[in-house]
Symmetry: C2
Subunit: 204 residues, 2 copies
């Protein structure tokens, strides 16, 4: 079965956006600070159809994640925000399954990205993504709530936090309070770059 992997940039104090996120202001006030490290990378620029950028270890790590991905799952809020900014050739180049309560027809874009809208459980969305991933990994693209759902449902195989050494102070938290027993994780990779700390965990 395909692995289910989530990667997300998070501030030291646990936020994945600045304060006041909305479909209009996807990352909240100042939230782009959390993505500064990634948007300058050669691999990120390539994914977005641009040339140039920094060819660093960070860029390699992102390139590996992109190569390993065969399908994605994302939340409706992330889609609503992103679709305002993605070009006709979105940066996914794979089937994307969007969790939503509003049924709509699939949206076929250039470059291999098709958005399929799923009015169903996270379990079934992931199962459909796994069936479409051709043996590659399923990436939970976000937002935080969808990553949390997958984690709490025991469906996430690996979680990589790109920790940005800044205290945002407010915003959307990756980890909200939840009931239930503590969940043990295992650190499987730890790397430090000048901009970010990569912490990769496997669920135990």
């Amino acid at each position: 079965m395909a692995k289910v992997v989530a990667e997300i940039s998070m501030s030291l104090d646990g936020f994945v956006t600045g304060p006041g996120d909305s479909p209009e202001l996807g990352l909240g006030a100042g939230g782009e600070r959390l993505h500064e490290w990634v948007v300058k990378l050669a691999s990120w620029r390539k994914q977005h159809g641009m040339e140039g950028g920094e060819d660093t270890r960070d860029s390699q790590l992102l390139e590996e994640a992109v190569q390993n991905t065969g399908a994605l799952v994302m939340g409706r809020r992330m889609f609503d925000h992103g679709i305002r900014h993605w070009s006709d050739n979105p940066p996914f180049h794979n089937p994307v399954f969007v969790l939503t309560h509003r049924p709509r027809e699939p949206l076929v874009k250039e470059g291999g990205t098709t958005f399929t809208f799923i009015n169903d459980s996270i379990e079934n969305a992931i199962a459909q993504a796994q069936a479409a991933a051709g043996g590659k990994d399923v990436a939970i693209a976000g937002g935080a709530d969808v990553i949390q759902q997958a984690l709490r449902a025991g469906l996430l195989t690996e979680l990589e936090i790109h920790m940005v050494p800044v205290l945002m102070g407010d915003g959307v938290r990756l980890f909200d309070r939840t009931a239930g027993e503590p969940v043990e994780m295992e650190l499987i990779r730890l790397e430090q770059s000048p901009d970010v700390i990569h912490l990769r965990f496997r669920t135990v």
Copy 2:
């Protein structure tokens, strides 16, 4: 001027206790999971007047922190909980300044620990601790609220998070929501042990 340093064990999801902390249940339900890595160390046992324990890199790091400390600042809740458990020879062996709104006489214990109760600002508590530290570091012992106060007041020189790879789900957060501009930090040491990830930051 003496450095002001805070070190604290935190879960991957940002909690420094389990749910339901109180003077009676200092670390909340299941919160002792966050201190499992430290209580088995030789240096921790020595600090607490016990022999034996594991002589590992984790133990060295704790020993260094102990050696560098000349005075401590702690909150009243931490004191109220701790005093139920510390022996007549508490594990600090240095002057301890306790922030409280209830004035009381200093409490002199064995082994070099004196608790002085300060009904004043965090700034003045730290200044008194610096004066008493004999050129060594001032440690902000906790809890999370006192560490946050020092950090937000720009008084903290270094912050070391001992990240325990578990999702606690609930408890006291190290980082509550705060207003104000983001605070940039600089990673100055990163070490991994089988039990815990040590992330040491300097305020920028």
